[in-house]
Symmetry: C2
């Protein structure tokens, strides 16, 4: 928590900018304490550092105006989507203005023939898919929370479908952003591919609000598959399950989702959802394709699974049965919390090369036992990415200290396996101390040079990413 010290505040600048903004935007500038706290970090264990005010812009032009006012007075701006990020991205360690995009939630254009959509950043992924429901198209990135798409782009979110459809980096075609100078950048044309200049789209995706404020996004869409099948299979060990996954990819079976639950998580799901699954590692899969394709794919996986000790392989293409088969996964988060009611859930998200995943999970389980920490494991195993949900008694300082030690240990383990401390949650404040260990001094220097070049006064989301 040492990293969550407050940063120096520019009190005069903040007061002046707030006065100017209030004059210009009246009731759309809010300073009530509960709203400000809700716009600081509210998930997991990082301390809440509320902004001085929250402002609700309604257009790119208003964002430009607000940025110019704040830049003139060197006041921090922190972009805010739905506040579901997990690593303190929306905290205001130096104070400043939280820029809430919830009033910029228009869907500007659906290009069905081009399979893309142009939206404002405040649109949430569920709202987008509801809007698209009659087009035969959908947006495939599902990080769990009904996050805003601007926030998902800013943190390079992914989730269960990434193994098939990629992460936000693969699904943002272009975006519009306001720079600290107040200038608007259009990062790319709407063409499917381009070799025109630096890849500013990908630079903005995952930059966590430190380089620009995203005010418009062009997203790739997918056709809703003709058919979907679901499958589950139990394995004696995590290693067997991982070997089945590796075989599956090498054989070219195009999985749409492939999720791992460890034995503790299966036990939690059995208890919470009244299931009778064998309490050993479980894989849950989904396949998207044609009617015959999804059956063929599920069956191909079944054979590969059997080669690696899989038992109880079950698959279905019927929607109601799919939901039942996947129930353990759908309920996993709530089931895990129920293992220890009242505890705070803290989610890690390391990601390692697939060949190292079984070893990484095995070492993790052993470490958790050694530290007497309770933390079921759910993994986006196709990407080598897994979550341990630490169930921490926040009244117990020694347990908190052990949990913090574990998080650092796990980051180092993943890094030692040529993996990353964060597969999908981002760096923010919580992972800042691991970034240089992972990428080294050269990458940090390059990121700092980019940040300095674009935001020399460090007014965009200061105190994040060690920048």
């Amino acid at each position: 928590m040492a990293l969550l010290a407050d940063l120096p505040r520019n009190e005069d600048g903040i007061a002046t900018a707030l006065a100017v903004l209030t004059q210009a935007y009246g009731p759309r500038v809010e300073t009530g304490q509960s709203l400000r706290e809700q716009h600081g970090h509210t998930t997991t264990w990082l301390r809440n550092q509320p902004p001085d005010a929250v402002i609700f812009p309604q257009s790119t032009e208003e964002v430009q105006d607000i940025v110019r006012i704040c830049a003139t007075h060197r006041v921090p701006i922190i972009p805010f989507g739905t506040g579901t990020s997990l690593e303190g991205h929306v905290n205001a360690p130096a104070g400043g203005i939280s820029l809430d995009f919830s009033q910029m939630d228009a869907i500007l254009a659906v290009h069905a023939e081009d399979m893309d959509v142009v939206i404002q950043p405040g649109v949430t992924r569920k709202a987008l898919n509801t809007h698209l429901r009659d087009t035969g198209l959908f947006f495939p990135i599902d990080p769990g929370a009904d996050a805003s798409l601007g926030g998902m782009a800013a943190t390079r979110a992914s989730g269960t479908c990434a193994v098939r459809y990629g992460t936000m980096k693969d699904n943002v075609l272009a975006l519009k952003a306001v720079l600290p100078s107040g200038e608007v950048v259009n990062t790319a044309a709407r063409a499917r591919k381009t070799s025109a200049g630096y890849d500013l789209t990908r630079l903005m995706v995952g930059s966590e609000g430190t380089l620009g404020l995203i005010t418009e996004l062009t997203l790739k869409l997918q056709g809703i598959p003709e058919a979907t099948s679901a499958a589950t299979c139990s394995f004696p060990t995590v290693e067997d399950a991982c070997n089945a996954v590796i075989a599956c990819f090498q054989y070219g079976v195009p999985v749409a989702r492939i999720e791992l639950l460890n034995a503790l998580q299966v036990r939690a799901c059995n208890s919470y959802s009244k299931l009778t699954l064998p309490e050993t590692p479980l894989l849950l899969l989904e396949f998207h394709g044609s009617d015959t394709g999804v059956t063929e794919q599920a069956e191909a996986f079944g054979e590969l699974a059997a080669d690696h000790g899989g038992t109880g392989f079950t698959f279905t293409t019927r929607e109601e049965d799919r939901t039942r088969l996947w129930q353990a996964r759908h309920d996993a988060y709530w089931a895990a919390l129920q293992l220890r009611p009242g505890a705070q859930g803290i989610s890690t998200d390391v990601c390692v090369p697939l060949s190292r995943l079984a070893d990484c999970v095995a070492q993790t389980e052993a470490k958790l036992a050694e530290l007497d920490l309770k933390a079921p494991i759910v993994g986006h195993v196709g990407d080598g990415n897994f979550h341990t949900l630490l169930l921490v008694d926040m009244e117990n300082p020694s347990e908190i200290a052990r949990a913090e030690g574990y998080v650092g240990w796990l980051a180092d383990l993943a890094i030692s396996m040529d993996g990353t401390c964060t597969g999908e949650h981002g760096i923010g404040q919580g992972k800042a101390k691991y970034l240089e260990r992972e990428l080294g001094a050269g990458a940090m220097a390059m990121m700092a040079a980019i940040k300095r070049g674009i935001d020399p006064d460090n007014i965009f989301n200061p105190g994040k990413m060690n920048l």
Copy 2:
């Protein structure tokens, strides 16, 4: 050609750096005129601007050393792979040192379970696939030329398989690069996905040697598909062909390649390859998947094609028949040149949203007729990307002027359709004047800020991308 003026030369610096480099690297520094000219631009119509010397490093450490020597004396460095780029990327308008990566061509590690490979930048794509042939894996990006993978990354290359496997931006997992400071950057871990910091990998991919010198690449591999099918179908108009392609995507048929030949190109192929294809627009397709899958996919396309006026639909899964079916595409470049022996072929590569492609091609054909220019069209139609191969008599100044006017007209047309002036060849010198028209002043300012932050003395590939 006005853009190809020479830039000011730092004569003293170049002389001093050359002396230091020659002392350190002896025979691996070469200054013979023909080698220097071969390391300047040699494709298409851009003027050759040779470097002052060519150096052949053998390790990242040597690249660092060379960069430090050149940086001390403010001498330009231009990275060189195989010299197959088309937009003057390897020219030395301010003189300086061409850094030829051909002696850094080691394959450092094949991780079959992780389906990735770690290589030095001088490995060519064909050499890589030859090395991989017994692993069941392959690298799918095929830009035509047997380019080096470092060069392909630097120019964000793609080609016929991009519709299925993406471009270089999607297939580089991580890379190592030497910055103008001499520092080494590792852009990412080897994990399949990451949210750790700025996406330096994607920033380097497509940066055309202006930010860093790539000395190592980690590339994603694909499993060789169990089966492949090929199909061809003729259409009354380009619009009908494009509508069939749109239907194909919306229906979710997973094509691996989908190429368009316009009527003139088909005529050229009939003549060159002794074929008897109807001289109307032709689509050629390839599908990758399971035995039953690739048949099902080809048949599904056949039905969609018939709905859009397609005739003569033919498909096969047998390898020898696939080659025959695709012969027109394989021979397209040589067949086109044969339309006008002795002419210089100049390839454009605009890319537009798919819904605009038919209109873009139709206007292009009309413009070519109006200007009395001969230029068959081949398109990576799944991406909205197409090439016109201008066949220009380089002895005829008026024709050259018309061709140059046409290239600018086409770039503007694509940009007006929310497309790009370059889908896969890059900006270099040849497209520099279109970049700002396409992306606007904000994006140019952001690129310039990045460039200044990382290469303040502008020694890495100066005079490219308008930076």
